[in-house]
């Protein structure tokens, strides 16, 4: 008996039966197979694209775009190359996403906090808002905001005029500094409003739609986060005579944030992706520019690759930021 065991342990094990070698070997082979498959599929793609005359080519990026884009942050005209057009579209997308994120967070937080207020009316309004908005498709809401609300605004002299602000069918005009730090308000020139700061109604409709829609989801995330804080925390604060708002601000929210932030991340990413619906309300975002580019150049694969990677990078960037925030609000164990 003992001899057998001794013999077993002393015997040199051949490498193909070595417990340390086999798993490595298996992994290496699997990795090899996966690599071969990827190489094969890529090769197939390139071969078939070549056969169809669609081999990836990026030369078109330097050709003049030949179409105009309104409302660009970066200066743009039809003579600039396609990559500038796509960049202008990307900047427009980022602009809408950034303002949308801030707006949706503010609205969502307010609605979320209102949903557990002691004021019944406030609670009711918050509930109705959330249930109404999150059960209607975003595209429908955007089209509603644009075609029904914003395009019903009066134009020209009939526009809604407040000091330093004009809201007309053509857009929102704000007073600001123009040529040499001179304060200039909106003016009607030749039946067209002019102002230092102008936001189109398309941008307005997109933002309103995105903020109202995402706000409803964020309100639920906030409500869930606050509900996750044990009731005892509220009661303890109340017994110390701390006001409702102070309790919320200094005791409950810091604890709730741990639950809220990961949920918020998802909502932010959704908002960034949903911004591509801008095309339905005439706002020239990245997707809209990419479609025209695709149509004019016929480079479908390349344009979609660019589009996919742009949204991927944008969303990953938001995720990284939110993970940073998440790290900050975690309980610091010392």
């Amino acid at each position: 008996m003992a001899d057998t065991i001794n013999a077993l342990s002393n015997e040199t094990i051949p490498w193909w039966r070595n417990r340390r070698v086999i798993p490595l070997l298996v992994q290496a082979v699997v990795a090899l197979v996966v690599l071969i498959m990827i190489a094969f599929l890529l090769g197939n793609l390139v071969r078939n694209l070549t056969a169809a005359g669609l081999l990836l080519s990026w030369r078109w990026l330097n050709q003049p775009a030949g179409f105009d884009i309104s409302e660009t942050v970066l200066p743009f005209n039809a003579g600039l190359p396609y990559w500038r057009a796509l960049l202008a579209g990307l900047v427009n997308t980022i602009r809408a996403v950034l303002v949308g994120l801030v707006g949706a967070t503010v609205l969502g937080t307010l609605a979320g906090m209102a949903s557990f207020s002691r004021n019944g009316l406030l609670r009711g309004i918050a509930r109705v808002y959330v249930e109404l908005i999150r059960n209607i498709p975003l595209l429908l809401q955007l089209v509603f905001w644009y075609f029904v609300v914003f395009l019903s605004l009066p134009n020209g002299t009939a526009a809604i005029q407040l000091p330093g602000l004009v809201l007309a069918k053509s857009g929102l005009y704000l007073a600001g500094f123009a040529d040499g730090l001179r304060w200039v308000g909106p003016q009607l020139v030749n039946d067209v409003w002019q102002a230092p700061l102008r936001l189109s109604v398309e941008f307005g409709a997109l933002l309103t739609g995105l903020i109202v829609y995402s706000g409803a989801f964020i309100a639920e995330v906030v409500r869930g986060g606050v509900a996750a804080v044990p009731k005892g925390q509220w009661e303890a604060a109340a017994s110390l005579g701390i006001s409702w708002i102070t309790t919320l601000r200094t005791i409950v929210l810091p604890q709730a944030l741990r639950v809220i932030v990961p949920g918020l991340n998802t909502q932010y990413i959704s908002l960034a992706k949903n911004s591509s619906l801008a095309v339905a309300v005439g706002y020239t975002d990245l997707y809209s520019v990419a479609e025209t580019t695709l149509n004019q150049t016929g480079r479908a694969v390349e344009v979609y690759l660019l589009l996919l990677s742009a949204y991927l990078v944008l969303d990953l960037f938001i995720s990284v930021l939110m993970n940073g925030v998440n790290h900050l609000v975690q309980i610091k164990e010392r």
Partner: protein, 373 residues
């Protein structure tokens, strides 16, 4: 090395050979799929006279035609749920020839921006969607599309409400113009305004419905599209008289059906079916008299031209991979070119457009069918 039975379970690797078995099966599976994929490639690559697209349509029993669906006169949904229009009638002619029944047709609305992708991917057999023929779209290095003969000569134009007081392009300076994004009109407008040195604000929408809704609600001072399209849209407005077309013609917009360049046999078939309805008009063959004309051709051995056209003699149809009576089938289904134009966009339609350039060459127009011989 043989272990006593009671030791076998104590070793973590109960079955040394299992890994090899898994590996071998995985490898052989990979090789098999690779071989299959390679084989499939070889199969698809075989050239010849036969058209894979034509074969696919026949085995499917249905022709899929990509169309606009929002443009009165060309393709629009009628109150009874049928699509009607010039583009639609041409699709019917194709279905009648290829499948023997004009109703074996699926009209699939595709957007301005999706149309070429849906054609390239083979989702639609043919695009009949008021598509302007242009170099980039035709070139193998561009969209690689094969265009059928031009079936409608249009021109780019601009429409503005009368009350805006815009009388010419110069009047659009600083104003907003609605366009369908990705259309040739969009690029043409940009070119022209750049040439004139006028700044304007383009407002781009994904489809014609959105574009014209925005225009009608007064969001833009003008809208640019093809002149026939503008007239068609205007006919649907509650107050057509309040809108006028600016005098400038921005561009030539010759419209044609489109097929994949990859299947020249199918492209040729489409091309000659279009020519057939044009030739029919030239010879006065109509939907009403096509049967009598065929009888005449059969009875009269001296009417060689007509006999060839109808396939009574010769093999014109077969040379294209079509039935020999393809011209008869097309005309019997939708009538000749003139009938199609009159019915959909001409003076007998709600659009009331003059035939203009879309008249036969023999009557001063640009429509000409090459000889059927």
């Amino acid at each position: 090395m043989r272990l006593p039975a009671r030791f076998r379970n104590q070793l973590p690797l109960r079955c040394g050979a299992c890994h090899w078995r898994t590996l071998i099966s995985a490898l052989s599976l990979t090789l098999l799929s690779a071989a299959l994929a390679a084989f499939a490639d070889e199969g698809a690559g075989s050239g010849g006279v036969a058209s894979p697209r034509l074969a696919a349509i026949q085995s499917r029993g249905r022709l899929i035609c990509g169309t606009n669906g929002q443009l009165p006169g060309f393709s629009v949904l009628e109150p009874d749920g049928r699509y009607e229009g010039l583009d639609v009638d041409l699709c019917r002619a194709l279905a009648a020839v290829v499948l023997g029944d004009a109703a074996k047709l699926e009209l699939r609305p595709v957007s301005t921006n999706d149309r070429f992708a849906s054609l390239a991917s083979g989702e639609v057999d043919v695009l009949s969607r008021n598509t302007t023929l242009s170099l980039t779209r035709d070139a193998p290095g561009g969209n690689a599309i094969s265009f059928a003969p031009i079936t409608y000569y249009d021109a780019g134009g601009v429409m503005a409400p009368r009350r805006e007081g815009v009388r010419s392009l110069a009047g659009l300076a600083g104003r907003t113009v609605c366009v369908v994004s990705g259309s040739t009109n969009e690029a043409v407008m940009a070119d022209r305004m750049r040439l004139l040195g006028l700044a304007y604000t383009p407002l781009r929408f994904q489809n014609a419905d959105q574009t014209f809704s925005a225009y009608q609600s007064g969001r833009c001072s003008a809208v640019t599209s093809d002149r026939a399209g503008l007239a068609a849209r205007r006919s649907l407005f509650p107050d057509p008289q309040a809108h006028e077309l600016l005098p400038e013609t921005l561009s030539k917009e010759p419209m044609a059906m489109a097929t994949q360049q990859a299947d020249p046999v199918w492209s040729d078939a489409v091309r000659w079916i279009v020519y057939a309805v044009m030739q029919a008009e030239e010879w006065g063959i109509t939907r009403a008299n096509v049967a009598t004309r065929l009888k005449e051709a059969r009875a009269n051995p001296d009417a060689a031209e007509l006999r060839r056209f109808f396939g009574v003699e010769g093999d014109l149809g077969r040379q294209l991979g079509l039935p020999d009576d393809f011209t008869y089938r097309a005309v019997a289904a939708v009538g000749n070119y003139g009938e199609i134009i009159d019915r959909n966009v001409g003076l007998r339609s709600s659009l009331r457009l003059e035939r203009g350039l879309n008249q036969l060459w023999s009557r001063g127009g640009l429509i000409v069918a090459p000889p059927f011989r």
